[in-house]
Symmetry: C2
Subunit: 492 residues, 2 copies
């Protein structure tokens, strides 16, 4: 039986080359049981005509399907679905399902009822004309071509084991070595191999540190305002959390309560205010931790984005007593979808973190680690950080000029750089309402409310990221924010 050519439609949403899409269309028809073994496919000419593509494209797709044993060819009589093609199993009709489970009783722990983790952030930010979004990659700044080359290299036969092997609890040796020899020394940190662990992004690093050191009733100090996902991690783990208000220089060491066991801090660029902890405060914070016998988890957040002044040395580099657990990430300087970060700390801590990581996921995918190792060791990473620094420096100047020109108010911006400015709207404005209103003008801003620990958080703050907005749109975007504020009211 011949399969009528009319049954073939290229899906509008499918991606890849035309050849790949044709191949996919045929394979899916077979896998779904719509095309059965022995059935004849349309001729290459007929299908090409029907789809409006060249005949060679269809021929190449058919050839690939032949090689994979989906199709067979019988000389001049054409192409047929292979007898060896996979058949969808016939298990009969599905069992009708009426959920009989009392899920509330079934859950030993719940995780979904906390803060929203910023998870209501828009995934379609790239459609906005003025995306003052924070923490996404800019296609114009990321060195996609060299990343692709490194990824292709890491797909080669030489790296077959790095790609495919179950590494159990181990890291990619090339990446770990590069971080130890080159990345950490640039933060003034010297660490042995058993003091480093690769993680699934900084989020995973913070999570691991929190489980091991700051769960089950431990008394923990965090910054206020603070990265909301960290508060959620600590809540889930059952820590007793004390928020400590930050000022223009970040976390004030004296304000950390005496009975604190673990301090979470973001010295490079405080999240979200961008304040950089001055050297004197870094030393005071270490001293305070020593006095009260607390540990410090240092999220060395955006240190590479110090384009105005050189970065301060990491807290960890000043740590004489092994009290600091260091969290690093490639999400901001490479891209967040990469999901690569690392933990640095004393060997006993890393041993626990490695065991927990092994239990929860074994190890980050080998190919991702090896690609990053190549990208770093070939110098592309540093080149990119410098390129981003220059671009962000330019954008920041334009931001500051536009903000001043339109009379908006900066609440915090840090002295070293970063990729965002922390803003405050006039008293009485709710930045969530402001953000909703600006949506209509294709302007994306981030309301500041989720960063605060309080039950009745201040509502006037908002964050303007400039890591994804083109320079030439900044002025107009800021003008629209000013116009929306002038128009008012955005009362909460």
């Amino acid at each position: 039986m011949a399969i009528p050519v009319e049954t073939f439609h290229l899906s509008a949403t499918s991606q890849g080359t035309l050849q790949a899409r044709i191949q996919q269309m045929v394979a899916e028809g077979i896998l779904a049981g719509r095309f059965r073994p022995g059935e004849k496919l349309p001729s290459t000419r007929g299908l090409a005509h029907h789809l409006g593509v060249s005949r060679i494209t269809v021929t190449l797709a058919y050839t690939e399907l032949l090689a994979n044993d989906y199709l067979t060819s019988r000389g001049r009589s054409g192409y047929f679905v292979s007898e060896n093609a996979p058949e969808p199993p016939d298990f009969g009709p599905l069992a009708p399902r009426r959920d009989q489970v009392d899920w509330d009783a079934a859950f030993a722990q719940r995780f979904s009822n906390g803060a929203n983790l910023g998870m209501n952030k828009p995934l379609d930010w790239a459609r906005f004309r003025f995306p003052f979004i924070y923490g996404q990659a800019d296609p114009k700044l990321f060195d996609h071509a060299n990343w692709r080359l490194c990824a292709t290299q890491a797909l080669g036969a030489r790296d077959f084991m790095a790609l495919t092997q179950d590494q159990y609890d181990q890291d990619d040796a090339e990446l770990a070595t590069f971080i130890a020899r080159h990345t950490l020394p640039r933060r003034g940190i010297q660490a042995a191999p058993d003091e480093i662990l690769i993680t699934l992004g900084a989020q995973n690093a913070l999570w691991l540190a929190a489980q091991i050191l700051a769960s089950r009733g431990r008394r923990v100090a965090i910054e206020n305002p603070c990265y909301p996902a960290l508060r959620e991690i600590l809540r889930q783990g059952g820590a007793q959390v004390t928020p400590v208000d930050v000022d223009q220089e970040g976390l004030p060491p004296d304000a950390v309560p005496r009975d604190t066991q673990v301090i979470f801090t973001t010295p490079s660029h405080q999240c979200p205010t961008s304040a950089t902890l001055p050297r004197a405060r870094r030393e005071a914070l270490l001293k305070r931790a020593s006095q009260i016998n607390a540990l410090i988890v240092e999220d060395d957040y955006e240190f590479e984005m110090s384009f105005l002044k050189p970065p301060s040395p990491a807290l960890k580099s000043l740590d004489e007593e092994g009290r600091v657990i260091y969290v690093g990430s490639f999400s901001k300087s490479l891209f967040p979808g990469l999901r690569l970060g690392y933990l640095v700390g004393s060997a006993p801590f890393i041993r626990e973190a490695r065991a927990l990581r092994a239990s929860m996921l074994r190890h980050p995918p080998g190919h991702v680690q090896r690609t990053a190792a190549y990208y770093l060791s070939l110098g592309h990473y540093d080149a990119q950080v410098r390129r981003m620094g220059r671009a962000l420096g330019d954008r920041r100047k334009i931001m500051e000029r536009a903000i001043a020109a339109h009379g908006l108010e900066i609440a915090g911006k840090g002295a070293h750089g970063g990729s965002s400015i922390w803003m405050q709207a006039p008293e009485g404005v709710d930045s969530r309402a402001l953000a909703a209103q600006l949506h209509q003008d294709s302007v994306l801003i981030e309301p500041g409310t989720p960063f605060f620990a309080q039950n009745a958080p201040p509502t006037r703050f908002y964050r303007l990221g400039y890591s994804s907005i083109p320079s030439e749109r900044i002025e107009e975007g800021i003008a629209l924010i000013a116009a929306a504020l002038a128009q008012g009211p955005q009362g909460g």
Copy 2:
């Protein structure tokens, strides 16, 4: 100042093309501060001669370094380290460190003191001549070329967002859709998008399910013997675990204690005995779970490796009451370094799993998910499963013949296929000693002891995987095992 050509050495361990290695050597010298801005590099001719490579290779490496602003060229006078090249920071001498932390007191939870998670498995298994190892990829069976094509496609400009974007708590839509439409129906499972979650491998799926349903004192039944990493996950989470002895047909439903709240089971191929749960037992197990109001976590382990008989329908496909949480994985059929798996369950459960995954790691790396989506949708995955099934079927025949010929004893092998045979040595043999002895003959076997829950586990069992050993070596490898056993003693 000129940098003497003698300072340049291509590292013997570095990988990649010659050009890449030269580029890496220069970039690393600059990043490490050994080469300073303004210093002159050797001529391309001089460096080429020194390294014994062609001049064009050096020229291409220098050109790339120029583009990345590590080097500048001054017409005919040659190449210099760029003034814009990154400089290593000078933070002065490192703080001397004497660890002052009482780590035992600092840990809120410990994770490293449990079973070894099989983490003492050899990472250098590929050097063994007779690797009867389980769960690693075989370079000869994996379709590396098409994987590379799909990965390259997923690195393209069209997929830039899928690669780079922070997806917050979301999955790759292409992969999730393919699993829902094509993978699950082949197991008789119909699931809506909010009933599926992509995970970092099956390990991560089991871990998530355990935290949500089987932690904090919950009464849990597991199979005995059983995947050791699952026992460790349950121990870490604080479950009350009852091991239930399996027989030649897997888990006997009637032996599950009345007060069990969650049952973990591996119906497709029991781990490690390879037994397949017969259809009647599947129905009985569901009935038992319904009677005692328990949930079931089904690790649908190696279902694709059913090359002897068609796979039985998944427990989940027979589940009328929403009691079954289904764990799927691509680790065995693609490769374990990929770290991709998935959870299927009722929407309230998936909501919790998604929240916990977001908190611990956000989402699996975008590129890995998208590459798998292409590989699956182009039909390569099914082609590979069939190819592997044929090869494993052949190897299994050779295994069984050799085992019979040399008088070794099979303890369990299952009727459907799989990629290993569960063996028992004569009474009194300790398979750990046997494995150690066989190391010297370049034979790798897996002692069975870690699979057992008991404090004094049986020691005579061992597992022979045949997913990575070439057919032509099987006979000789089995002969060596028989010889070692004949030689004895390997008493414990």
